[in-house]
Symmetry: C2
Subunit: 338 residues, 2 copies
Amino acid sequence: MRKAATIRDVAHAAAVSTATVSKFVNGGQRFSREVEARITAAIQQLGYRTNPLARGMITGRTGNLGIVIMDIRNPHFTSFVKGASRAAAEAGMNLLFADAAESRAPELALLQALLPQVDGLIVSARMPVAVVEWLREWARKPVVFYGGLAPRPGLHSVGCDNHASGLMLGRHLRELGHRRISYVGFGAAPWSKDRWEGLRAAFQGTKASLQCFDVPAPVAEEGERIASSVLLDAQTPEAVVAYNDLLALGLMAEARALGFRVPQQVSIAGFDNIAYGRYTTPSLTSVDTGSEATGEAAARHLLGLLAGESDLALHETIATRLVPRDSTAARGSGSGKP
Amino acid sequence: MRKAATIRDVAHAAAVSTATVSKFVNGGQRFSREVEARITAAIQQLGYRTNPLARGMITGRTGNLGIVIMDIRNPHFTSFVKGASRAAAEAGMNLLFADAAESRAPELALLQALLPQVDGLIVSARMPVAVVEWLREWARKPVVFYGGLAPRPGLHSVGCDNHASGLMLGRHLRELGHRRISYVGFGAAPWSKDRWEGLRAAFQGTKASLQCFDVPAPVAEEGERIASSVLLDAQTPEAVVAYNDLLALGLMAEARALGFRVPQQVSIAGFDNIAYGRYTTPSLTSVDTGSEATGEAAARHLLGLLAGESDLALHETIATRLVPRDSTAARGSGSGKP
DNA sequence: TTGTATGCGTTATCAC
DNA sequence: GTGATAACGCATACAA
């Protein structure tokens, strides 16, 4: 097994200088027919590929985009990564991936490990403020936050309008005649509050009563765990809205296990419109937050920043849309047997 | 904004040579109290971090592990990535991620882009043979295949025993009294056949009749699409086994839409034990293929290869386990209303 | 225990 | 058009 060919090998084989080969490889210059042919042949024959590390040393570019995900098992983030992956691939960039939940190191160490290997970063807007400050001060590379607004003004971000999304879902429930609503939030994400306030806004002027709960992690297990507290509360809710679909899935399963009929006795809804909401019984009403589109937008935004585009908005808003399914209905309606 | 500190800056600030700083940073040598203190202080004050690109040029190591996933939206692969991510993080390595389904480039180009940026690769065993050959010849870096056995002998791989898994599920169905079984396979994955043969083996010596179908992609939509062909076939199956849980999810949804009662009229089961199988109605019987453990094992195996461990088995087998749930039952049993 | 010198593979600058 | 050469930031053999 021989070592990989270098630019010098090519230069030698083609009887030109390394500088010429470099210019040829990177395009943007004209060459004599002769030289062009020789270089092409040499590259072909030696199987030469330019070493991105060496190039990076000079240009300061790695060809990688860094992406830090809070928990890849959440289908919302999975789709997000998929969208970002597509945009990166189209631009010829690689994706350097880190799962914050899996790293035993604190977020800061994680970013420090990622940073020197990437040209820019896509990170969650629910990063600790101290980490964001560090990024702002030390990362001389563009950063795009996702989820909600960046934790500090002046930073780039991509996400949906969470207040509007909450409002949208709230109106849906209001139209169904629900008046006792419980929200199971995830306080660690700042925009959980936005969803909650949007929800409340939808009931402004009505005699509706809204309650707020909170879970320590936005996962199905927590939804199951908190279900009894929510449903057997002094105020029995007519509708339960969860911060995301995973929580909603857990809530719904446990609600049924507790003997509640969904949606006849209690409507349940979430956010994100994950694929599996279609396959539950009843199927899950949700607000589609454009997971994949958000990932794609985040990557494109970052690429724009890298390209030096100056007309980039600080925040990019992704459209959301209500996806009404069977888990929400006017009380007592339907047969309960699909 | 000042540029990032280099080893020279540190050396200068500490009044030592760059070589000394390098040795200090990379450990494995003793220093005088004095020098140690000065270097530590300088590093601290300048916020120095060694540049992995520059280091990589010398050592030939990037600090990255490459991972090529067929479709990150499949929860099986998501868990796989999670496991690999954990193992990589523990070893202080980053994960360079690529989604083959999202790349418009052919697999080969994808690998070529990844290869120079990583120390080793984790790739699906269902890569085209031509690509594997190329890898074998040109990638002078260790590769670990996942899913099933490597496409060529002599290559490292990690995966479960697919034949045994099929057998396990087959016995379960046999014990439930089923005799007309349909398998919805995914021929593009070579081990789909292993599952099928394991399934068949479970019914050897009985008068059972087994049918085989095939889908072009192992996703829920394909399960829905093929459901009517499978269920309304000349031989109405008592049980349908799908290549994976996504297919099973789609099959089950469509089966119910077609008016079939699951599991009273037809049992349905899959492979992988994805999290969402718990939240369907009925909950989905599956064979847990140890998705996350496989990812972790693949990464560890790769790390072992990188560390030059010589006692590494060529193939590592991950344990599987049957997870019986409500979607499989003896015919006519149960009430159908949980 | 510490320092000197060299080279990793590439691009950029400037000369020809 | 093409070539010489100096960086880029670091690790390592070897010298002291």
